[in-house]
Amino acid sequence: MIQFQNVNKMYDDGFHALKNINLEFRKGEMTVLIGPSGCGKSTTMRMINRLVSPSSGSIKIDGSDILSIDPVELRRSIGYVIQSVGLFPHMTIARNVAIVPRLKRWTADKMSRRVDELLDMVGLKPELYRDRYPSELSGGQQQRVGVVRALAADPDIILMDEPFSALDPMSREQLQEDVARLQQELHKTIVFVTHDMDEALKIADRIVLMKDGEVVQSDTPDRILRRPANDFVRSFIGQKRLDQEQIIVASAQDREAGSDFGSVMQDTPSVDEVMITQPAVTYPSRGLAEAISTMERRKVDSLYVVDRQRKLLGSVSIYNVMDSYRDEDKTVADVMLPVRYSVVSGTPLTQAVELLAGHRLHNVAVVDESGRFIGLITRGSVVRHLAEQLPMMEYDQLDNPNDEPGQARKDITPGMEPDSSPSSSVPSLEPASSVRENDSDDRDSKSGREARS
């Protein structure tokens, strides 16, 4: 546990960067420091490993004042990830990852085993990447190495200073998921600095909102969404949401343009060719308000629940979340329903379509051999696939059922205006039963609830 007591930071020029900060970073939790630039969030974080020293007040880690610990030793016991990656260009990936173990004089054998293990953790094949130099990796890969470097000596505390802000939206999303997954596994005390509210909502156990060197609100994401302390918090949540909106739309369009299902007609395509990759997921420990915010962000009305290995645990829809929304202690795990139908990767599409039609499902999950959730077949994705396979067919007929992303998005505005369509945002919720009937009648027009591809 890290405790800040009456911490102040005054610079020589009289600038009061931090004003009487009292904070607690709980053990095993991911605390996100968030606020506009210049609010003191980075300064606060950098005090923990003594890169910045407080003008007054005390900072304690597990009860002992950090001023009593040698700064070099302290920093070696705390993982550190910075925004601009900070990998050393003259060292191989292996050496970069092993930098703290090397400073701690581990044996070569132990170090190389640790490096391989860490690279594996973030999906970089050790035999391929170990001996490369940072300049040969993409930005996302580099930052993944940056993250595991912080884990190398197995520190209890990890500091992350806007680690993903320089990445493109796709890699950022993926890394956020990586970090969320690693955290589920490792339970480190993480202090994460960001200015992106969506990122905070996605990964935080606890959010500390700062402004002008003061803490405005410090609470779980769920409660911050439910009870913003003041207008500043409200506008911060809203504004950031809007910013994110455009990025997601843009990246979805990019993907659209780049997607290529092949123009050759095949007899029976497999589900892999048709499925939506990167479907919206959530984790069992998430709060309900967080689940809703994920649905809003991804423009869907249901989420699949996966564990850290991406094994399917169940699904939640907006209806069963809303039913229990009043109960603040409930998590996704409490309200999720088991997944009854899923298909294995490689299954012919026709089987998936039979499932969709036969059981009146909105979608069917696709899992790989080891049961990991890899994609989603929706009615929309099937229609889209057909449209692409049969270019001579009249598009007028296909246009309506096809879940054009732009269309589906239009009816969900971030301002959360009530909307009549069933896939719209939270406040316009209608009784679940009527919606379902309605939906099964009008076939496909709104089944593009997974309106992404």
Binding site: L51, E73, I82, F88, I99, R132, E136
Partner: protein, 249 residues
Amino acid sequence: MPDTSVNFVDFVDYFWRNRGLMGEYFLQHVQMVTLGVLLALLVGVPLGVLCMKSRWLSRIILSITGILQVLPSLAMLVLLMLWMGLGNTTVTVGLFLYSLNPIVRNTYVGLQQVSSSLIDAARGVGMNRWQQLWRVRVPLALPYMMTGLRVAAVIAIGVATIAPLVGGDGLGRELYAGINGQNSLRIYAGAIPAALLAIVADIGLGALQRRLDPAHRSARASSKRGSGGSSSGKAAADKAVPPVPKAQG
């Protein structure tokens, strides 16, 4: 003036007949330059590191080495001769003083240009000042230091040709003998090897400099791995901008 139209065959013939002496002059030349530049490296690199300590210290060190280099080479050697007498030692010390400036200045620039985020990362992972210097700053400054070494070596090879004026040896002997005896064959026999030596030193040290560049290192590593990696390696090499020589003679 001597007849400048020298027959190439005559030149080769002369050179071949005197190859023993020529070889001796050449070795003397190389020896003086190598000693002088090595001394300058031994003293200059630590001075460059010392420049990092504080702004005023760097100002003092850089102005002293700057003044040393601005002195005309003949004046410097003659002044040294007054103090140290005739001989190769005087020349070597002169070359040492002359080489200091490019080496100190480039070392300093190289250490300074390391991006602050890398230093932040180095501090953050728990490197002490010494480790920050040796594991991060110095390796990343190597290409710059090599530029300094290269400039220093080429200048020193040129300056060393006036060594005979203060009692030194080297290819300058042949040159001055040629001037005094109005024998253009001997002038060429001194000047051509000196020029070749400078060119070879420049190219050789340039190649070494590229090898030490971290950006190029990745390109080499990936080309070894075959076609898969070479494209990314090439991209890295394209991105790499060779360091611009910061100090010239």
